[in-house]
């Protein structure tokens, strides 16, 4: 296969991958954010304390997270067909990707929101703030650096999931590696798709880290979350060191 033909296959596949990752991320946020917040607020001693809701949500999230993604894709084929009309192609892949990512992101949201100092919630209550005020003016802004770090993690996981979805007819880079690399034994495709995926992941991770550091800088170093990828440190010049 000529380089030109390869290029057109790869660019289509990259766009398909980005399409799948983008839309499943949007759904992960729409679904995961409220679920994560509810997991915290329905817990014991919190504003919306409700142990039934808390336990059911917790169980659903746990089950969702423990199903291997490949099995989830297959299990959801009837549901996907019902929603989209087909079970193959990037649009169809968004369904299992979103459903897999929602519990994943919800747990990260839960952890991030739970870490917000209870004293701040109390302060907002003492000012007459209600539950919505506490969510939108205290919990989410204070947890924002951790939420962005969690979102970065989710996107990176979704890229890997999207490649897996490629194995069952979702198109995208994973599908290219299988169709051209495995089935036609053209290892160039495997190499290029790996490089492309590494580039996408790196760009997303760097962007995420940058945002997290910007946000955390306001709150002082104490709040800065652990970085997932180390950026090169600025060199200390002789003048500064002295």
């Amino acid at each position: 296969m000529s380089w030109n033909a390869m290029q057109s296959v790869l660019s289509t596949a990259t766009l398909d991958t980005l399409f799948m990752v983008w839309w499943s991320t949007v759904w992960a946020v729409i679904g995961g954010l409220p679920v994560g917040i509810l997991l915290v607020l329905t817990g014991p001693g919190r504003q919306l304390q409700n142990s039934a809701v808390n336990k059911v949500l917790g169980a659903v999230v746990n089950v969702g997270r423990s199903i291997p993604f490949l099995i989830l894709v297959i299990a959801l084929i009837p549901f996907t067909r019902y929603l989209i009309g087909t079970a193959s192609g990037p649009s169809a892949a968004v369904v299992p990707l979103a459903i897999g990512a929602i519990p994943f992101f919800a747990r990260l949201v839960e952890t991030a929101v739970r870490e917000v100092d209870g004293g701040l919630v109390e302060a907002a209550q003492s000012m007459g703030g209600g539950t919505w005020t506490i969510i939108f003016k205290v919990l989410l802004p204070q947890a924002l650096p951790s939420l962005v770090a969690g979102l970065t993690n989710t996107v990176v996981t979704l890229i890997s999931y999207s490649a897996m979805a490629g194995a069952v007819g979702a198109n995208g880079l994973g599908s290219v590696a299988i169709t051209y690399g495995q089935q036609r034994n053209d290892m160039r495709f495997v190499g290029v798709t790996v490089v492309l995926i590494v580039i996408i992941v790196t760009v997303i991770q760097l962007a995420g880290d940058l945002v997290v550091r910007r946000l955390a800088a306001r709150g002082g170093r104490a709040n800065a979350p652990v970085r997932l990828l180390k950026l090169p440190k600025a060199r200390v010049t002789a003048d500064e060191a002295a």
């Binding site: 504003q47 919306l48 304390q49 100092d117 004293g119 701040l120 109390e122 302060a123 907002a124 209550q125 003492s126 000012m127 007459g128 703030g129 209600g130 539950t131 005020t133 003016k137 205290v138 802004p141 204070q142 924002l144 946000l215 306001r218 709150g219 002082g220 104490a222 709040n223």
Partner: protein, 356 residues
């Protein structure tokens, strides 16, 4: 200060249940805070003072009893549910609260922190900014509006906390150990600020603390809490006039022993109602006695002296009936220390002598 009660609790009780264990944090607390005063509740950790102040704005729901703030029965307003209903939230927005650990949002600038209560009150953007800057000026941080809390010192953070608490124009300010995380010098400046706000704005301050110095520095009235109960309460003057008052002894500690056998040791308590004349030197001149001051803990409040002084008069008690009578005539409370008993200042047995 007026006699209008602004915070009243009656029979306030809080029982925590965990499993089958019960802990009574508050045990029938009756608190009376009058308009315009600085009222200090002091006690050791575990005495229930923190639960008490959190019950005043119902951050903590009392098990029984009532809380009335500025004429509103909050316990009735709040109803039964655990969640704060709109009526309770509206009442809370006019009760300021400052915290030991400041509780400022690190994601917001100083100005935006102060605007938060105004956002809750749905005040427009311009008015919020104007009010926030006014308050920053009031607490002496006009230049820090755009700073983030992480860039401030502890004392500055508490000033922001105070400004934030004042945003809703409260009549009442609750202070939950506001100075406990601060060094002594910063503590003094924050107390001074609270005092100034109390005077300038007529703000009623209810504070809890474990430091006697805080009570001594700014409180008009004080209560001592032990095991979930208030064991003493009253104005500083009233407490001083109460024989054997633990708070008065702590607030105005006097020590000192008789220097010889044939001497009389007398504790003189100045309530602030006595004439402003220099009684001790008058006593010395009129009766020609040599008065030695063994110890004194005095404060001058509003031009009047408040506190205690332990003085020694030559001669036995029988020889000093007349000078002691003179002191009583001046409106002072006089207690003859340990008549006949060995002198141990700490366990000073205050023998109230029969007045003529």
């Amino acid at each position: 200060m007026t006699d209008i009660p602004v915070i009243t609790t009656t029979g306030l009780t809080k029982v925590y249940r965990s499993g089958d264990r019960e802990v009574t944090a508050l045990d029938g607390v009756d608190l009376h805070v009058r308009e315009g005063e600085v009222y200090g509740v002091i006690g050791q950790s575990g005495a229930g003072k923190s639960t008490l102040i959190r019950c005043v704005n119902l951050l903590e729901r009392p098990t029984s009893g009532t809380v009335t703030v500025a004429g509103q029965d909050l316990t009735e307003l709040a109803g039964r549910g655990q969640r704060a209903n709109p009526a309770l939230r509206a009442a809370r927005s006019h009760i300021g609260m400052v915290f030991q650990h400041f509780n400022l949002l690190s994601s917001r600038t100083v100005q935006d922190n102060i605007e938060l209560p105004l956002e809750i009150l749905k005040v427009g953007r311009r008015d919020r900014a104007r009010k926030a800057l006014e308050l920053l000026d009031l607490v002496g941080l006009a230049d820090k509006a755009k700073a983030y809390p992480a860039q401030l010192s502890g004392g500055q953070k508490q000033r922001v906390g105070i400004a934030r608490a004042l945003a809703g124009d409260p009549k009442v300010l609750l202070s939950d150990e506001a100075t406990s995380a601060l060094d002594p010098e910063t503590t003094r400046s924050i107390l001074q600020l609270l005092r100034d706000l109390n005077r300038q704005l007529g703000l009623t301050v209810l504070l809890i603390t474990h430091e006697m110095d805080v009570v001594k520095t700014i409180c008009d009235s004080a209560a001592l809490m032990k095991g979930g109960r208030i064991v003493e309460q009253g104005t500083v003057t009233e407490l001083l006039a109460t024989p054997g008052s633990e708070l008065a002894t702590e607030l105005f500690p006097v020590t000192g022993e008789a220097t010889a056998e044939d001497r009389t040791v007398v504790d003189v308590t100045f309530h602030g109602e006595a004439a402003t004349e220099p009684v001790i030197s008058t006593l010395s001149r009129t009766y020609n006695v040599d008065v030695s001051i063994l110890g004194a803990a005095m404060d001058t409040v509003g031009g009047k002296q408040i506190g205690r002084m332990r003085i020694e008069l030559p001669g036995r008690f029988e020889d000093n009936v007349v000078p002691i009578g003179f002191l009583r005539e001046q409106g002072l409370q006089v207690d003859v220390v340990g008549r006949g008993a060995p002198q141990t200042p700490d366990a000073a047995v205050l023998t109230k002598e029969v007045a003529k």
